[in-house]
Amino acid sequence: MYFALQGALDPALVALSAALLIGCAGVPGLFLRKPGPGQIIAAAGTILAAFAGVPSSLLLLYSHTTTTYLLEWGLPFGPCELVIDPLSAFFLLPVFLVSAAGSLFAVGYWPAAEHRTTERGLTFFYGLLASSMALLLMARNGVFFIMVWEVMALSAYFLLVTEHEREDVRRAGIVYLIATHTGTAALVVYFSLLASQTGSFLLPAAGSLSAFSSTASLIVLTAFVGFGAKAGIMPFHIWLPSAHANAPSHVSAVMSGVMLKMGMYGLFRTLTYFYEPPFLWGAVLTVCGITSALLGIAFAVAQHDLKRLLACSSIENIGIITTGLGVALLGVSSHNNTLVYLGMAGALLHILNHSFFKPLLFLGSGAIIHAVGTRDMNLMGGLGKSMPRVTLLFLVGSVAICGIPPLNGFVSEFLLYLGLFRQLEAVSLTYLVFLAPLLALVGGLAVVAFTKLFGSVFLGTPRSTVAPHFHEAGVTMLLPMFFFALLCLLIGVAPQIALRLVSPAIEFIYPQLVSPSITAGYGDLLGRLSLSGVLLIAAAALVTLFWKWRLGKVPVSATPTWGCGYQRVTARMQYGGAAFSELAVSVFNGILRQRIERPTIAGLFPVAAHCSDQPTETFLERVISPLFALTGIAFAFLRRLQNGLMHMYVLYIFATLFILMLWAH
């Protein structure tokens, strides 16, 4: 394949070559006999690519240019265009950032020296995954899109099953593979229908299709299934928790931080095709979004597995993004520009934010697991003292993901809230404002989930001796986390910058409604927000100083925690994660369906009893698995047709001949 270049070296070309560089970064390691150098080379290449790619994407984002490359390929599906427009450029940012950070993290987290057998494949497929995602954002030919899409899905699968000796990993892999393949099947239909509309496999231009045809609804439906399955919107989320929990942590970071966003990208892209979308589309998106947000975080509260909790919160965040998108779409349908702008801004900004704090948290969990050797939060505790830096960074991530000021999570939710409140002065769809309390509930549950996580992992005293060798993470692991924490804080205290990031993308999607005045207005508003954020930090500093001053004057002593009179306090008496969330979970138990074992204490001197409550995958275990079992039984019954009796086989031939003859005459 060679590129017919138009024009000299330009940012788009740089981004393109950066994407390809990431893909090739893992290749040298395959051929090096000695383990280690390959990984270093890969990390270096990926980071270099990020250094080239991020600025160029920013340039493309601000200079509202759209660059087109024509890829000469030998396949009979029409020309293959590679285009970078503001929307693609916006989504390119997390791809480069997260993949680079992850590859650096891997050097410390999955050292080639310890994982001789798996490291090569891991590094290679990691690069493949990242670069396929980057190319996906540039692809404008449906077939090429599906090809890179599937490469992405498959390399993610191979990354996921890195430790395929473990049964649960294999199971997670199969569930993921089936889910993603079903999604791809939907996408095949999607692109075929698009081709039937436009006459070629090139993706249609923005606003070029009418939404009022049965085919249009079918297209959007297939897109919702195909892309929703990748993004993990309920009810297509079944694969997500186990997959993200069982992958190596830096892979989980990329999967959760970036790969889910590819699904969202597909939805955004699809919705740009149509002008005048009907209300139904926005309504469906909104409902599914808010449901995912609520149930996702409810599931997260119930988890005991560190990474499962994070994965479920990914469902929540995707839900918030989808809600924003749906609300914006409703705004388009009801010609309410404020709603469109704020919904879009909220959704896009939350995409960016989530791709900062979620990788931060996943990398942090990687560091923890690396130190402790388990994922069960009930066995952790007291890590704060042995790994203070990780603790601090993880705290930043947790606060950010709860959408609490002064960090970035708050900004996107703020925009969304504002959009919803603004509905009060809208002529139609005033009831959308009722989403605000639901979002608030989501926020409250997020606080529960992440105080539980943070508390039971880092605080208190160690609950068990699963791993005596707690140790602070190495610099290669801390650096990426620090970088993300910095970004979270930056966007948190200077949200105006973030708004300038998303505005071009919105302008590309809905050119009519982004006027400088609007942008400036909201920029000003966010300026006030950042001011109060700064004030908050200042106040905290002030109080700290005051307190330090007092402490300097009074005697300070240290004793064990007061046991309220009880003398023989042990570590196992602390409030564990399960205990912490028990009250909150009991409110939602209708949906969560925990497996609860409560022993009945009888007699004066009851014997030792065991008590546990396990969260379950309600949808997967109550709907999907029974369905599969049923199909299996039906098929087993039908398989009797192949009963090994020759005369039956001849009879089949005879019958076929007979039927065809009757049909023919």
């Binding site: 398989r639 009797r640 192949q642 090994g644 009796l645 020759m646 005369h647 001849v650 005459h665």
Partner: protein
């Protein structure tokens, strides 16, 4: 001549019914042999004389009438089986079905356009009826031998139709006929012997280990 040919065809049909009705393997083998001989004679009746024709006739009579029956007979003797015990479908039912199918084939043949000179022959119905008889035997019998016989009958049916084309495209017909005979004789003969060695019986019910549980 025409009438003679038709009478022979009627005999062929009768032999079909005999085959459907009998359970004794030796008997059915002989019946097939007779059918083969009849088919061998037929070309001579409908086509003008030519040495080529004589050649065909001799070959066919030799193979269909003597070689194959010999092979089958030896197989049966070595396997020491006398009769087709418990077929999948009873003999009466098979006979009725055979009658039904014969009627059907006459009806079917009536609806096909024919050359005027073939108009009042019963070649087409006879061939289709024989074909179906072969199918019936194949689908109702249990013993390998019976199934081979079924295949041969089916083959005879095709051969009868081939006679109509014998002068138009002789090579084609002969090639087809001979190749079928090749399959019928050697390959099946070999396989039957192998089966006999493996299972020391020619009951296809034993050949049912390959299936879906």
């Amino acid at each position: 001549m025409i009438t003679l040919a038709d009478q022979l065809l009627v005999l062929v049909l009768l032999i079909n019914f005999i085959l459907l009705g009998t359970s004794r393997l030796f008997f059915s083998i002989r019946a097939v042999a007779v059918q083969g001989v009849l088919l061998g004679i037929l070309p001579g009746l409908i086509h003008p004389f030519s040495w080529h024709l004589v050649g065909i006739t001799i070959v066919i009579i030799a193979v269909k009438g003597f070689v194959i029956p010999q092979l089958l007979g030896r197989a049966v003797r070595s396997a020491e089986i006398k009769r087709e015990a418990e077929p999948f479908v009873g003999y009466v039912a098979t006979l009725l079905l055979g009658a039904l199918f014969t009627a059907f084939s006459f009806g079917f043949a009536g609806r096909l356009p024919m050359l005027p000179e073939h108009q009042n022959y019963m070649f087409v119905p006879a061939s289709i009826a024989t074909l179906m008889a072969g199918f019936l035997i194949l689908t109702t019998r249990r013993k390998v031998i019976s199934q081979v016989i079924g295949y041969l009958v089916l083959d005879n049916g095709i051969f009868i139709f081939g006679l109509l084309l014998a002068e138009a495209m002789p090579i084609m017909v002969e090639a087809g006929a001979l190749l079928d005979l090749l399959v019928g004789t050697f390959v099946m003969g070999i396989v039957i012997n192998q089966i006999n060695r493996e299972f020391s019986s020619l009951d296809t019910s034993l050949l049912t280990s390959l299936k879906e549980e």
